[in-house]
């Protein structure tokens, strides 16, 4: 990437430009006011000086003590910054000056010293303080100069003096002109300009550094991580996760990226699994086809011979063995073909004991090799259930193989028991669909509680607003709260989609008297609950009135190594495997899926080094 295409560079350039503009505007006004202040100070000082000089000289003028006057002017002009002091007479002739070369020169009305009064055609008689000063440059390249002219007015003492130099008609007798060099002011102003420029440069550099660090921490690092993660995923490493701990937008992006990879890997795994099943199916089909042809030869010839040797009992017996064993081979191949077609589920009414016995028959050899004793304890009169024989067989096959692996080579016991049980729907029945009164679905497939889609409600408490995810098992109260509230207060609940209230103020619970909330279950009445979440009251009339539900309970225990408690909650998750390279981590999740599809439940109980028990509940009345 080119340097100008980077977000950091662009941000820094934009911010720097803005800083320059702001500082420039600020500096312009700041320096201007600073320099104005300085100049007005100089002006005030020059005026004061000019007034002082005039007053000092008054007596000398009356006495016409010209030498003294010249000395005073020279002494005063030694003060720093003063360029020259001169006095012009009425005609414009310089009669005194600190610069002796100017003595006797005639200034015309347009000269800087005369201009203030003589800019108009009629000379001014009076000049205010502000109008006395002016700033000018003698040459374009020299520093600025401040000139103060102080008119010397005619006074009574002037015309009444003995010399009679002035008549009483005259108003202005001459002008005291002090010129001050503004070099110092300019120097100070320039210094300020330098300071501001330095300040601007330093602030831009500091801002750039801070921005650089911020951009690096806030954008570049996470973006680089994301980029790296996408590259990993692109080359097929779907187990890579960003695991960002950030809560900002980029953190959300990372989380959503992680989530996408999980979904992607699940989809790929499913694809892989179905692909695997498909190729096993093709293989089985191919093998079946290839074996069946030679078997046809064996079976037809042997059965034909059997037909022809009716009178030879010895040979007949031998041939009968061939025919019987070939027919057995035929059944094995048929089983292989049936296996390859497992992808299309066929629900039938099945005897659970038969499924288990069938499964055991398949792996009886493995049980023998591992010195495992099998204890069967089937209950009497277990009702048949509607289920897919093959899928249920797969469940038992996987569970028994897991048990064999857990027991290992040392030997042990696997016991399987079945019985008919009745369970109250309270605490067992899953709410699979729920809507608000306007028919909007409240089910949240993304937010799962114990692996089941939860029910999402919008909640309001005081000024807080958020979501509550209800446990979908009727009677279970491990809800997930996305809002803070006091437990014994009433929460207002709404449909997240249309905002319609789910609370019925007119109905109250029999236990604590708080208003109830209700969820509409399509074709199955309503589920009612308490709006105080410390109250565990829930009611589902339709289901309660149907009474207890009949289940077949199958318990499968082994004396194997057991599962560590911290892994127990994870074992039904896809891709979780304790078998390392040996397992795909799909077995138990597939089992969970099959049992869930049959509206049943599977749970696990395990003690380390003592054994594991899986309990499966399959409903009897399920169609």
């Amino acid at each position: 990437m080119k340097i100008f295409e980077k977000i950091g560079t662009r941000l820094i350039l934009t911010v720097s430009f803005t800083v320059i503009v702001i500082i420039s505007v600020f500096a312009y006004f700041n320096i201007k006011s600073h320099s104005d202040n300085l100049i007005s100070e100089v002006e005030r000082h020059a005026n004061q000086l000019s007034e002082t000089v005039k007053n000092t000289m008054q007596f000398d003028m009356l006495l016409n003590n010209r030498e003294h006057i010249a000395r005073v002017i020279k002494t005063v002009a030694k003060e720093e910054g003063i360029k020259y002091i001169r006095i012009l007479n009425k005609k414009g002739e310089i009669i005194y000056s600190t610069d002796s070369t100017q003595l006797g020169l005639m200034l015309d009305k347009k000269a800087e010293s005369c201009y203030a009064c003589h800019s108009e055609n009629e000379p001014l008689q009076k000049l205010s303080i502000i109008e006395r000063t002016r700033i000018f440059k003698l040459h374009s390249d020299s520093s600025s100069t401040l000139g103060v002219i102080n008119p010397i007015y005619n006074e009574q003492s002037c015309w009444s003096a003995d010399c009679h130099a002035h008549t009483s008609e005259q108003t202005v007798l001459g002008v005291l002109d002090i010129t001050v060099n503004l070099k110092e002011v300019e120097r100070l102003t320039n210094n300020s300009k330098m300071d501001v420029a330095l300040f601007a440069i330093i602030s831009i550099i500091v801002i750039a550094i801070i921005l650089r660090i911020l951009v690096n921490i806030l954008i570049q690092k996470p973006v680089r991580e994301l980029l790296q993660a996408t590259n990993y995923v692109a080359v097929g490493n779907l187990s890579h996760r960003i695991n960002s701990s950030r809560k900002d937008e980029i953190g959300q992006l990372s989380d959503s990226f992680d989530n996408m990879i999980v979904k992607l890997s699940e989809a790929r795994m499913q694809l892989f699994q179905s692909d695997k099943m498909a190729s096993i199916g093709r293989l089985a089909a191919g093998v079946a086809h290839e074996i069946n042809n030679p078997l046809t030869g064996v079976l037809t010839y042997s059965s034909f011979l059997l037909k022809r040797v009716k009178n030879n009992p010895e040979m007949k017996a031998d041939l009968e063995v061939i025919v019987r064993e070939t027919k057995r081979s035929r059944e094995i191949v048929k089983g292989l073909l049936d296996f390859s077609r497992q992808s299309t589920p066929k629900k039938g009414s099945i005897e659970i004991a038969e499924v288990i016995d069938n499964t055991i028959a398949v792996i009886s050899n493995q049980l023998k090799i591992n010195h495992i004793t099998l204890e069967k304890n089937y209950g009497k009169n277990i009702p048949q259930i509607m289920a897919d024989f093959n899928q249920i067989q797969q469940v038992f096959l996987n569970l028994i193989i897991n048990s064999i692996d857990a027991i290992g080579k040392t030997g042990g016991t696997i016991s399987i028991s079945t019985k008919e049980i009745f369970l109250s729907p309270y605490g067992t029945f899953q709410i699979r669909t729920a809507t608000c009164q306007n028919g909007h679905s409240l089910m949240d497939e993304k937010h799962k509680i114990d692996g089941l889609p939860s029910i999402k409600l919008k909640a309001k408490y005081a000024k807080n607003e958020g979501f509550i995810h209800l446990n979908p098992i009727y009677g279970n109260h491990q809800h997930h709260y996305g809002i803070q509230f006091k437990e014994d207060e009433i929460i207002h609940l709404f449909c997240p989609q249309c905002g319609v209230t789910l609370v019925d103020e007119n109905k109250t619970t029999p236990t604590c008297g708080a208003p109830i909330y209700y969820l509409t279950i399509p074709d199955n009445g309503k589920v009612e609950g308490c709006t105080k979440f410390n109250c565990n009251w829930q009611r589902w009339d339709v289901v309660d009135s149907a009474g207890d539900i009949k289940f077949v309970e199958i318990k499968l225990s082994d004396t194997g190594s057991g599962i560590e408690p911290k892994y127990l909650s994870k074992i039904f998750e896809p891709f979780y495997s304790t078998k390392g390279q040996k397992g795909t981590g799909l077995g138990l999740s597939v089992i969970w899926g099959i049992i869930n599809n049959h509206k049943g439940k599977i749970s696990v109980d395990s003690t380390l080094n003592e054994g594991t028990t899986f309990t499966i509940h399959l409903p009897v009345g399920y169609e």
Binding site: A285, A288, H289, E290, I291, N292, N293, P294, L295, T296, G297, V298, L299, T300, Y301, S303, F304, L306, K307, V323, T326, K327, R330, K334, L337, R341, K346, K347, G348, S349, I350, Q384
Partner: protein, 265 residues
């Protein structure tokens, strides 16, 4: 030169052809054989056959495509299909395509002989039906009633009230067996599957004929009257002669695999 044979055998494996030939010869049928459908089509141009037995899975052209060509050429020779890939789908497909029987490999001498006997008998019946001499022979095949569905010419099903389905055997199947000896039925609570054997009929010569089920389900009742008097089956195959009453597992999707009888008449 137009030769006449009983059976045309088509299979890509020599040993199968030999085995089938041997069984046919033992039953005194004349045979000709082909190693692929193209060869078989040439033979069909030169000669006439009463029956064809063909493998389904063959290179270049499979049994179904071969059957399709025969239909286009209006060759009505009855066909038996066999395959080593003996899935329920193949069985159902074969019967739906118009094969009169499906026999999975490997088969025994007796199994093939039963199917040959029924095939030759079927061939005779259809020859009579198509030769417009029906009135003279007094031969009549009762067609399957409208609104019924059938699996080839093996079995039929009819949906009843309360979601149960009755299934039975078609008249053509019974006629091709000839004289009925005994019947071997499954019992209540057992499951039957579409394309799997649902019942066996033993004829007077002790040959066993397997009838494939038109639909999957759990048997809720068996017609006891048939067990008492097997001739009821031939007398009224579509009403009094029903076999099982079942609760179907997936009626709608499996009905799509069947032929409606409404078009038969």
């Amino acid at each position: 030169m137009n030769k006449k044979y009983d059976i045309l055998v088509i299979d890509d494996e020599e040993v199968i052809i030999n085995a089938i030939n041997m069984i046919a010869k033992f039953n005194e049928y004349t045979t000709a054989s082909a190693k692929n459908p193209t060869e078989a089509l040439n033979l069909l141009n030169e000669s006439t056959f009463n029956l064809i037995i063909t493998d389904i899975m063959m290179p270049k052209m499979d049994g179904f495509q071969f059957l399709e060509i025969l239909k286009q050429k209006k060759i009505k020779t009855p066909m038996i299909m066999t395959t080593g890939y003996s899935t329920l789908e193949n069985a159902v497909k074969a019967l739906n395509y118009g094969a009169i029987a499906f026999i999975p490999k490997p088969f025994t001498f007796e199994e093939l002989t039963s199917v040959f006997k029924r095939g030759i008998e079927y061939s005779k019946i259809s020859n009579k039906l198509f030769s417009r001499r029906i009135s003279e022979d007094l031969l009549s095949i009762i067609p399957c009633p409208p609104k019924y569905y059938r699996l080839g010419f093996d079995s039929w099903m009819n949906e009843e009230f309360e979601g149960t389905v009755k299934i039975g055997v078609t008249d053509l199947f019974l006629n091709s067996i000839g004289s009925l000896g005994s019947i071997d039925l499954m019992s209540v609570d057992e499951n039957i599957y579409q394309g799997n054997t649902a019942l066996k009929i033993v004829d007077s010569n002790e040959y066993i004929h397997q009838v494939l089920s038109p639909i999957s389900g759990k048997i809720v009742s068996v017609n006891q009257k048939i067990l008492e008097n097997i001739n009821l089956l031939a007398k009224d195959p579509y009403f009094e002669g029903w076999i099982y009453k079942i609760i179907p597992f997936s009626l709608i999707s499996e009905t799509n695999n069947l032929t409606t009888c409404s078009l038969d008449i």
